[in-house]
Structures are given as C-alpha cells and as structure tokens.
C-alpha cells in the first residue's frame, strides 16, 4: 500500500446515523425512482415467488384446481372478498411489468451506451408511464371492466 501524506486538516465524516430523518428529505430524480422501484419490484417478486408457483400449479394442474383458483378471485377465500386477491395479483403484475420495463431500459443503456442525463430522465419517465399504463390496462381486465 502506498503511504498517505499526513493530512493538514481533518476531514469531515459523514455517518448515516440520521438516515431515517435525512433520507426522506432527499429529492430523488425520476431515474432514481425507477431504480429503487426496480429493486423493490424484484424483491417483491422474490418473496412472493412461492405464491406465483402455487398459482401456476393450480392453474395448469387440473380442471378442478383451475376452477378453485377462479373461485378465489370471484368469490374470495379465507373470509376475505375476491377483490383483495385481485389487488394482490395486481401488485404482482405491476412489480413484474415495472421490473421488465426498467430492465429493458438497462439493456438499452448497455447496448447504446446511452448514459446522458437527458436520456436518463426521458427513459425513466417513459418507464414509469409505460409500466403504470400497462398495469392499469391489465388491472381493468382483471376487474372485468372490459
């Protein structure tokens, strides 16, 4: 290791001991929102993965299990109305769509070396608009609005 010169003045140290009060006061740019939501959506899918597998299981295993699954969404289960399960499904749908579109944004940045601030902001806006729009569209279908 190279030896470092003795400092003439001490450096200020920044420690995140006030994180809970400081972090919410930061203004996150659009690209920052897309990024943290990319992580959050990924984590959501990860933790709900057994639920996803189970839902797939019920949907393809037999006519009977498929009907049982449909009944959960229409009539509800565990004393809860079907709408709650549809909302849960919608959250997963959003997570998947946002993660996919933000991921495609990453791939475009990698392939086209698109690393300007303008591209970051514009593509972030496009990501948010597209993912929310497709979520709303699929949600409307899920809630039988069309």
């Amino acid at each position: 290791m190279t030896s470092q010169p003795t400092p003439t003045r001490s450096r200020t140290e920044f420690r995140n001991i006030n994180a809970l009060s400081d972090l919410p006061s930061y203004r996150l740019p659009l690209a920052g929102w897309v990024s943290i939501l990319h992580r959050i959506s990924g984590a959501l899918i990860f933790f709900l993965l057994p639920l996803v597998v189970w839902t797939f299981d019920l949907s393809v295993s037999s006519e009977y299990s498929h009907a049982r699954l449909s009944a959960v969404f229409s009539q509800g289960a565990l004393g809860l109305p079907g709408a709650i399960f549809k909302l849960l499904a919608l959250a997963l749908i959003w997570a998947f769509l946002h993660h996919l579109i933000a991921g495609l944004r990453h791939l475009v940045m990698d392939a086209a070396h698109a690393v300007t601030k303008e591209f970051g902001r514009n593509s972030a806006l496009l990501t948010l608009v597209l993912s929310l729009l497709t979520t709303v569209l699929l949600g409307a279908k899920l809630f039988n609005l069309y």
Partner: protein
C-alpha cells in the same frame, strides 16, 4: 496460470462479477423472449381462456423444454439480484450469510416445485 481457486480465490478487484453481470443480462433477455412467446400464444386463443386452452400452452414437449430453461434462468437471475440487495444493506456477516443461505434454499425450492408442476402435465 496463477493459483486462484479454492481458498486462494480472489473475490474482489477487476473482472470478478463479469460472469454474474452477463448472466443477469442474458437471463433477462431470455425471460423477456419467453414472456413474449407465452403472451403471443395466449392472445391467439380463440374465445375465452379456459383451462384446456391455458394448460394446453404448457403441454407440448418443446414448451416444457423452454419453460424448464426459464425456471433455471429465473433462479439464477433472482440469485444475482437478491444477493446484491443483501450485500448492499446487511453489514453483519453472520446475518448476511444466513440470508444468502435462505435465498438459495428459497430459490432452489421454488424451482424444484415449478419443475414438478411442469412435468405433472
């Protein structure tokens, strides 16, 4: 070649992580294409999407082949992503190691279950 395996494996510095970076991108592209393939098949279903038409998508052997590859791709993609989350936020080594082990068990279990579902068809 230098000795850099086993206990002498270098886990910091340049080029470590390239494999995982590429794996995340490659599996992402593969999963996006697979999603498109399933979506196209769903949209081509005439009439309401009932059990025979839905399960029928995953019944042919070539779809089972692709779906199995996608399950493996998802497991690896998720492993890289979630491992990064733990590495970023969890400082105590004992806790991070436990969470990493939990993550592997979680993903391996989900993958095994999904494969079992696929081959029950």
């Amino acid at each position: 070649m230098s000795v850099n395996y086993g206990s002498k494996r270098i886990v910091v510095g340049a080029h470590y992580g390239l494999r995982d970076w590429i794996v995340q991108r490659a599996t992402a592209v593969l999963m996006a294409l697979y999603t498109l393939a399933v979506l196209v098949q769903v949209l081509l279903i005439k009439g309401p999407i009932d059990y025979p038409s839905w399960a029928g998508i995953f019944a042919p052997q070539w779809m089972k082949f692709l779906t199995f590859s996608m399950i493996v791709a998802l497991a690896w993609h998720a492993w890289v992503g979630v491992r990064d989350i733990w590495m970023d936020y969890i400082k105590p080594v004992w806790l991070r190691l436990s969470l990493l082990v939990f993550t592997i068990v979680w993903l391996v279990g989900c993958a095994g279950w999904a494969i079992e579902v696929l081959w029950r068809l």
